[in-house]
Every structure is written in structure tokens, then in C-alpha cells.
Symmetry: C2
């Protein structure tokens, strides 16, 4: 690939800042000694085959590496990890993830989850300041990286995938300090007995008790998510949405049954769906048919409104102008894009962007697909347009409601629980 | 459109079996009188603008129609509905849904949800015997249709979207009788106060108490789902999967962190993820690298295994041959399709189909996308291939686990709770 290779560390003429060790585990101690001799300050050990295997020899090797590192004053990331992601320095987890900088820092005990985080986030215009896949956390552990990201001025939001804690009390203090300064959004692996078993063979960590973990998050104010896709949606929300002033959502959609389920899902996620007063209803009736619609909240609007971007933008404006809602959920049924072509959705997004300039409340777009393949294809095509227009875009009302509720809960702590 | 039109019912020369009323609400009573005079046995009133508007005049009109129907012995479906879906008779909800027959019957208080149900199900090779969108249920109500579908020999599975009950005690008896004969999979709208408010302006129904509803399902054995997409996944599972003999799942995937989350999600859904014995581990080690993998359950397999359909099929076979698992979850990371091309996924599906002939346990495929747009596109492309090979295909482990757990719970009622 046009890069110069050397037979050994000592043959490299320059001073070495950092070495990535990617040779078989049994040879790693020897290479560690060479790093010490060369005055290397820190290393990433990509290599696996240590304590996570459960074999005595792997554990012994790992301890040998730790001793070499301690005696030689070399700090270690890993082993069994992808190491550092730092686009501004030209370093990424691997050569397939985007090297674009943004406001989110991450730490992850899984290299795969870290990689998936970076790629899925990029699809939602969410990028990273610095991050680390820390693997077995032999030397530098989750507390070190959490403290670093807390102090890092380039990091506004912290995302963490945690399997187990090396120093639980230190982590508790670090997490409390972090949450006091910036949102920390945590996906915890190994919350069940089966998951904890998988953790043992993955990074060799002790997953700990679910009750203790949940309490840790409650006491520190960390934001816990249940699934990978929620992690991504919550990050998108924190990056792309101005915090609403409260929990009251105005929902604009199409279809009576879909509206009923939307209201259920918002309330279940912790949001309120207040009924509109007569003034809003009268404003909507100026351009909405009287029959076959619902104007109570959700607005179950007529198909004709959805065929006309001006009417939809006007509907959203009428709801936003009522001081009884703090945030708007606008459902764009992707099916209209499959019938008329995606340009109708593009026109709606443009119309909404213009309309949203006239009010100060945040808008979330739900590209509703109703689990239909053709709609899913169209929804994917226009998600980027939503984000570029300033609207986070979700696949379903329930994922939007959970993510927005997390944002509101963070900014309205007195209303939590 | 080449169809003959008549100015009035009395001008139609043939005997009329069924009339669909799609004229404005105030004119509907007159047309109902004409139907009675012509000896029509049943009608569908598509028209909206009745009691669901909350207006006194709409409610009065609806009662007038009911009186005409009762006195003239005409049965009424609706108003405010899409009516009957019966592909074998050439009738469908509208002209955009597939007219293909299958084993599922449905009743829905929402026309939109009924339509979405038929379209999303078709994407998963699930089709319908008969179904009905019943709207305000002025005359024929949810109990009538549930009793009908229970007795219908062409219907093996019943799907229901319910907002409120006209005759709660009758429905309880009908549901108990139905569940004794076939699975009934229910999506309930209006489980929250906000949802109940939306129900009132949608079909005018009383949504009732959530606690009573949950108890009703528990006592009758009805299968309740929480979201639209779960409804679709559970139906796919009942149609396409042979019931497993128990709850113990063997998971084959790629990625340590993803495996940890997969184990968590299975256990949280009610499944068991037993650790493999040494025999399975030794069998896997015959062709799986020793390092960077997990062979405990989930199998966190090497990338090399995923690049070779024979190795993946052999992995699945090795797990299936252990009598400690009842069902296999095979995770196909769609990302490998984005790197190599979808043909690698096609080859895997073919290999799995051949391998699955050698064991009697059901296999679910999870087309794991990790919320990445490019992976989602590839996953959609191969979902049909999975179904044609006999494997239900899911978007995520948690949706697969919930759906499969519903199937197992139905067939192992003694292990419920």
C-alpha cells in the first residue's frame, strides 16, 4: 500500500508516539518489551486471545503484558479491541468508517458495536470527536476514558457501551461528574444472565447486577437505552434537536388507527398528548375537510392535505401556534412517496422547513413505513433531506417518542420519573 | 372504467347481494330505504361523518340508519370503514392491496391499519382468507366477525385491531371460544388516556381500561402485541414457522458486542440461551478459529465463517444437533452483503436451507442491519429469499425473540407466565 515497513520497533528512525500491536498473542510480550525500550508512551493491543478466552495461558499472557507496561511506563488500550477513533488526527476504528469530526465522544467495550455506532450515526449526520474501543481494558479502563471525555472540550455528548466495570466506585464518581457536565447515553450489555454469560466470553468482564446498574444510572443522571437502535436515535436527537420546553407533543399524521397508536406510544414513552382547544380546530377547519378526519390531537388529516405541501405546513403551523404544545411530531407516510414519487416528500420537507422558521418549537419527522418494504425504501431516500432541513427523522412514532423523551428528561430533571 | 352505472338501486335489473354506500352522510338514509325496498341483505357503509364526529346530527343520522336496517332486515358493516376483504371473491379493501388468499382472517376497527396489515403482510408472504374493516360497528360488530372467523374453515389464524367493544361480555365469550380453536393476535388501540381520546374521535368507541383489557387477554389466551410492527412479525411467525418444542434458542452471529445484546434481548423476551457443552464447542473448533470468537451461545463466529456459506451451514448444524436447543436464530449481518454483494447472502440462505433438511428444528433468520441505511437496503432485497427458503426473516433479534416467544407460548401454554 506504499507505506514503509520495518522488521522491528528499533529499526524505526523516528520517535514513536503510539504503537498498534496486531501480531499473535504469544508474541505480544516480546513486542511490548521493544516498545518499552523505544520509549513508546502508549499502545493499542488489537490482538485477541487473552483472558477473554477463559484459558489459563491467555490470562497469564495478559498479566505478563500488564507487568511489562507498568514497569516500562507504557499505557495500554485493549487487548482485544479496535482502539482509537479520532478523525481530526486521521485515525479511525478501521478503514470503512467515516472519518468526519463531530460533537460526540464514545467509549465501547465492543469493537463491533463501536464500528456500528460510527456507521449508523453517520447515516443520521451524527459524527464523533474522539472515541475508543477498549476491549479487555487491561490497563486503561472505562473510567479513564469517561474522565477524559468529560474534560474534553471537543466533546459535548458521550455515548458509552459498557459490559462490566473494572473499578465500580471510581466509575460511579466519574459518571456523576460526567453527567453534571454533559449528557452520557449508555447502552449496557449483559443485563440478563444469558447476556452476562456472553460478556464473560467476549471481554472477560463481570456484567454485574441489573438492579445495581439501573440504580447507578438513576443516581448519576445517565441516560440508559435498551437497544442499539435506541442508542442511535437518542444520539441523533441530542445532536439535531433543540430541547423542547416541556413534554406536550402535537402530532400531525394521516389515518385514524395510526393516530390512535401514535397517541398510545407517545404517552407510554412519557410524553403528553393534550387535546386541542376549539381555536386550533377552527383554524384547521379553514382548509381541512370536516369528515373522515380527526382534529383532536393527533391531527388525523385528510389525504388531500398530504397531497399539498402548503396545507401540511399550514396544519403544522396551526398546531405549533397553540401554547399548549412544546414539540411537533410530523408523520410523513412514506406510502405517499411510493404512489406519487419521493418528490412529494421532498416538497413537504421543504414546506415544513419554511413553516418552522415562524415558530420556536422543535419538529421531529417520522417517516412512517408501516413495515412496508416499498415505503421503507422511500423513507431511506429522504432521511438525509430531513436532517439537512434541520429535522431529526425517525422510523416510527415509538422510537421518536422514546428518544425525544430522553432529551426532555435530561433538560427538565425536576420533571423526571 | 368500463363498468355500467345506474341512477338508482331500483334501476339495477339483477338481484343485489351487497351494496357499498359511498355517498355523503345526509343522503345515506334515503339510499338505505332503497336497499330495503330492493331486498338487499347486507351493506357496507364506507361513508364517514356519523357518531365519530361527536356532532349530534351525525349521531342522529347513524341511529336513523340503524332503525331502517333493523326494520328492513339489512345487516350493516360500518359506517366509516373500508368493508370486506375477500380475495377468493375478488373483493379487496381497496385497489392497491394484494388480492392473494392465505390462512389469516382479520377484523379491524381501523381501515388504515387493515390496509397496512394486508400490504406489510404481503411483503412477508402472509396472505388473508377474509377480513373486515368495521369502522363504527353500528350493527355488525367485533363479536360478530370474531365468531364468524372462529367458525370459518379457511381461517387458521385471526388478527384483530380493536379500539373498543360494543358488547364486552359477548366478546369475552367469543374470544375464549376463538382462542380454544386458533391463535388470535390482537393489537389494541387506545390503551392510554391519550389513545382513548383519539379512539373517541376515530370510531366513537369507548376504549376501556388497560388493566381489564390485559386481563381479558390473559384469561382467554389471546396473544397481545404492543406495536404494529410486532403484529406483522408475530403473524409471519405463526404462518411460516413450525412451533419449536421449547424455549431454548441457539444463536449464531458475528460480533462479540452484538452477541451480548442478542443474548440479553432473547432472555428479556422470555427465551432461554443455554451455554453449549464442550461437545458443541469442539465440533465448532474443527473449522472455526480459536481466537476472536465466542463459542458459548451465542456463537460469535469469525468473519471467515461468514465469508463461506458451507462453514456457516456447518455451524448451524453443529448447534442444531445438540439436544439442548429447540430453535436456531441465525444472524445474517446485512453488512457482508454491502461489502461483497447480496449474492453472499443468497448463498448463505441456500446453504442454510440445505442444512436445515438434516434437522427437525425451526430456524429464524435475522437480517441484522445495525440501523445502517446501506445494510437496510440489502436486507430488504433478500427477505423474500429467506421466506421462500422456509425461514421467517426479522429485522432485529429483539423483534424475532418477541415473535417467536409468542408462538412458543401459544403452543406450550403450561409454561406460560
Amino acid at each position: 500500500m506504499g507505506l514503509k515497513a520495518y522488521p522491528a520497533i528499533r529499526d524505526v528512525p523516528d520517535e514513536l508516539d503510539h504503537v498498534i500491536l496486531a501480531i499473535p498473542a504469544p508474541l505480544t510480550p516480546k513486542l511490548m518489551h521493544e516498545c518499552v525500550a523505544a520509549g513508546v508512551k502508549s499502545v493499542t493491543i488489537f490482538t485477541a486471545g487473552f483472558s477473554e478466552t477463559g484459558d489459563a495461558e491467555g490470562t497469564r499472557l495478559e498479566q505478563e503484558i500488564l507487568e511489562i507496561a507498568r514497569q516500562g511506563s507504557v499505557r495500554v488500550i485493549g487487548p482485544n479491541c479496535l482502539g482509537v477513533h479520532c478523525p481530526v488526527a486521521g485515525i479511525s476504528l478501521d478503514d470503512t468508517v467515516p472519518r468526519v469530526s463531530g460533537p460526540v465522544g464514545f467509549l465501547s467495550q465492543s469493537g463491533g458495536n463501536a464500528r456500528d455506532l460510527v456507521v449508523a450515526s453517520a447515516d443520521r449526520r451524527v459524527f464523533f470527536s474522539k472515541g475508543v474501543s477498549l476491549g479487555n481494558a487491561l490497563d486503561l479502563n472505562e473510567s479513564d476514558f469517561l474522565e477524559y471525555l468529560t474534560d474534553d472540550n471537543g466533546t459535548d455528548i458521550i455515548a458509552a457501551y459498557i459490559e462490566g466495570l473494572k473499578q465500580p466506585q471510581r466509575f460511579y464518581r466519574a459518571l456523576r461528574a460526567a453527567c453534571a457536565r454533559k449528557p452520557v447515553i449508555i447502552l449496557k450489555g449483559g443485563k440478563t444472565l444469558s447476556g452476562a454469560g456472553a460478556v464473560a466470553s467476549h471481554t472477560g468482564a463481570l456484567a454485574g447486577s441489573r438492579a445495581i446498574w439501573d440504580t447507578l444510572c438513576l443516581q448519576t443522571g445517565a441516560i440508559q437505552v435498551d437497544h442499539f437502535h435506541d442508542w442511535i436515535d437518542v444520539l441523533m436527537t441530542f445532536v439535531h434537536m433543540k430541547p423542547p420546553n416541556g413534554r406536550r407533543v402535537g402530532i400531525i399524521g394521516m389515518g385514524g388507527g395510526a393516530s390512535v397508536l401514535a397517541a398510545d406510544e407517545c404517552e407510554e414513552a412519557g410524553l403528553a398528548v393534550p387535546a386541542f382547544p376549539e381555536t386550533v380546530r377552527q383554524e384547521l377547519l379553514k382548509f381541512t375537510p370536516r369528515v373522515g378526519v380527526g382534529l383532536r390531537n393527533p391531527v388525523d388529516s385528510a389525504t388531500s392535505v398530504y397531497f399539498d405541501p402548503n396545507s401540511l405546513a399550514r396544519t403544522v403551523k396551526a398546531v405549533a401556534d397553540w401554547d399548549g404544545v412544546d414539540i411537533l411530531f410530523v408523520v410523513l407516510p412514506a406510502i405517499i412517496g411510493t404512489k406519487i414519487g419521493p418528490q412529494i416528500l421532498t416538497a413537504h420537507i421543504k414546506g415544513l422547513a419554511e413553516s418552522a422558521r415562524d415558530f420556536a418549537k422543535p419538529v421531529a419527522i417520522i417517516l412512517r413505513t408501516a413495515a412496508q418494504s416499498e415505503s421503507e425504501r422511500v423513507a431511506r431516500e429522504v432521511r438525509g433531506e430531513c436532517l439537512e432541513a434541520g429535522f431529526p427523522a425517525y422510523d416510527s412514532i415509538d422510537s421518536a417518542a422514546r428518544a425525544v423523551n430522553a432529551l426532555i428528561s435530561y433538560h427538565l430533571p425536576q420533571k423526571r420519573g
